[in-house]
Amino acid sequence: MRIFVLSLVSIFLGCGSSNNGSDGDDSTFSFGNKNYVVIEQTTLNTSETEVDGTGSFIAKDALAAVASGNHFHIVGTLKESSTLTLNANTTDSNTAGLQLNFQNAATVLKVSMEFGGNSVDLTDKFAGKDAASVSYHIDIHNDETPAHVLIWDGSVTEFSEENALFNSEDGPAAPGNGSGSFWGVTLTDSKLTKLVVGEPEFEEE
């Protein structure tokens, strides 16, 4: 009887429109009709339309393979000093991925690419871009060595090398390849409003 009552209480608590770390130990959530697994819960608040706070999570569905190419569309907002990181081809513990970091550093958007402790600064490629509002299309071809990374502005619809804000083939090169077949995001006091993964938009001829 006691278990039944506790179950009813937990179901009732779980019916709210958002979840955060203090609600319980539920590690999965849905955002944009996709399921995610929380890896690190600090102050993450999740709903179907946005995720904000601090913590990290990975998509429940794996990528096609470790050596695969994928496209990501990431939209969010950054407070001053906050960061948003895309972890591509990461492991199921959200480690050893190829990271793309977006940081609002005193209203300047700082962007870097990181793998295995090696970081590459891309800030100059994003000069003049809004640091508080980020919207980017990102291709990560982890089936090339090192990974081929292209980043386009969120408004772009023709995904060519010419239209890219950054193309790692033109330098600087990616610092390696992601080691897993998952992908995820790490937020530090930031908000995510859109997250989409799909087939790579750019294909070598």
């Binding site: 697994v37 569905d61 089936d143 090339e144 080691s179 001829e205």
Partner: protein, 350 residues
């Protein structure tokens, strides 16, 4: 511009060759392909382009050694990119039953890897070849030795070791690997009445600079029935399994295969169907549940080969990418190909 220079250079060289007596032979192989969307979601580029133009020189260097040089022009970013394909010295005259190649070459493993793309019996690259090797085949520099083992049946053992700085498609020089790429190919030959078979077994190991390890094991089988000069029936297939372990990641095992039966008519026409399959055996979601997945293709191909110097083909590729956790991707492509060879033609392997 580079392409024009190459072609111009070929014609100059070809005219010189016509006069020399060194035994040097030259050829240009042109591979024209087109692909057009067959369904609304098709990934076809709707273009007809020269996929590659191979300029080849080969000759005996002296009484012991032979030399080969081939340069290829490919379409890349809308321009012709000219690159060195093969440049090696070799011999089969030093020790009976033994031959070697030293330099840059297509690695002598499997079936497709040992042939230029314009010599393949179909237009597009099988899925397993594209994922595990490269759209064209693995090229690297090193040493490859083959020895016809002294046994009562045909068994040829090939061992090779190459730099391994890069593997497959790359735009830079790569990095020094933990160990050179090394491989083995065992090849036999069997005759049953009118049917000739060539079964092979391949293994390849790569320990890359980034600490990742890859192992490939594969079997290839080619069978032919000839009726006079007509290749009445061709069977070509390969099965490969790949183990890939990133430095800080988990082992990923994938299995892929293709099979291509083809019937040849007296007129030079031929019809075949290629079946492709690939799956990531170890694919799991973030909760640890196994995820079924496959990439498949069926490619009926109609060809016409009036001689060994030209081939005309059209095919329809029906590809599906299916996974338990994502929507099915359906890609249908209408393919065309015309290949022709100007000049001499190297001797055909089986």
């Amino acid at each position: 511009m580079g392409l024009c220079l190459s072609v111009g250079f070929f014609f100059s060289a070809h005219q010189v060759q016509a006069q020399d007596r060194t035994g040097m032979k030259t050829s240009v192989a042109v591979d024209l392909v087109g692909e057009f969307a067959g369904n609304p979601d098709s990934e076809a580029v709707d273009q007809f382009v020269p996929r590659s133009i191979d300029l080849m020189f080969y000759a005996p260097i002296d009484h012991l050694f032979d030399g080969t040089l081939s340069v290829a022009a490919h379409q890349e970013d809308g321009a012709a990119l000219v690159e060195l394909h093969e440049s090696y010295v070799g011999s089969d005259k030093l020790i009976p039953g033994l031959k070697f190649r030293l330099g840059q070459f297509f690695l002598g493993i499997g079936r497709l890897n040992r042939f230029h793309q314009h010599e393949w019996p179909f237009i597009s690259t099988p899925i397993v070849q594209s994922r595990f090797f490269d759209d064209e085949g693995l090229i690297d520099s090193g040493l490859e030795v083959s020895y016809l083992l002294p046994l009562p049946f045909y068994l040829d053992l090939t061992l090779g070791a190459t730099n391994g700085f890069v593997y497959g498609h790359a735009h830079d020089a790569g990095e020094k690997p933990k160990a050179p790429t090394h491989y083995l190919h065992l090849l036999s030959f069997l005759e049953f009445d009118a049917i000739d078979f060539q079964p092979g077994l391949s293994m390849l190991n790569r320990n890359a600079a980034d600490g990742s390890k890859m192992k490939l094991v594969g079997m290839d089988l080619t069978g032919k029935i000839r009726s006079g000069k007509v290749l009445r029936f061709l069977w070509q297939s390969e099965v490969w399994q790949r183990s890939f372990t990133p430095l800080d990641g988990k082992e990923e095992i994938s299995t892929g295969a293709y099979a291509f039966p083809q019937y040849g008519f007296d007129s030079g026409a031929e019809f075949g169907i290629r079946f492709d399959y690939l799956t990531v055996n170890t694919k799991k979601d973030a909760t640890g549940s196994k995820v079924g997945n496959s990439e498949t293709a069926i490619v009926p191909t109609l060809g016409y080969r009036p001689s060994e110097f030209s081939t005309w083909r059209m095919a329809y590729r029906i590809e599906k990418i299916e996974s338990d956790d994502t929507d099915t991707i359906d890609n249908q492509v209408l393919e065309f190909q015309a290949t022709y060879i100007l000049g001499a033609h190297p001797a055909h392997d089986f």
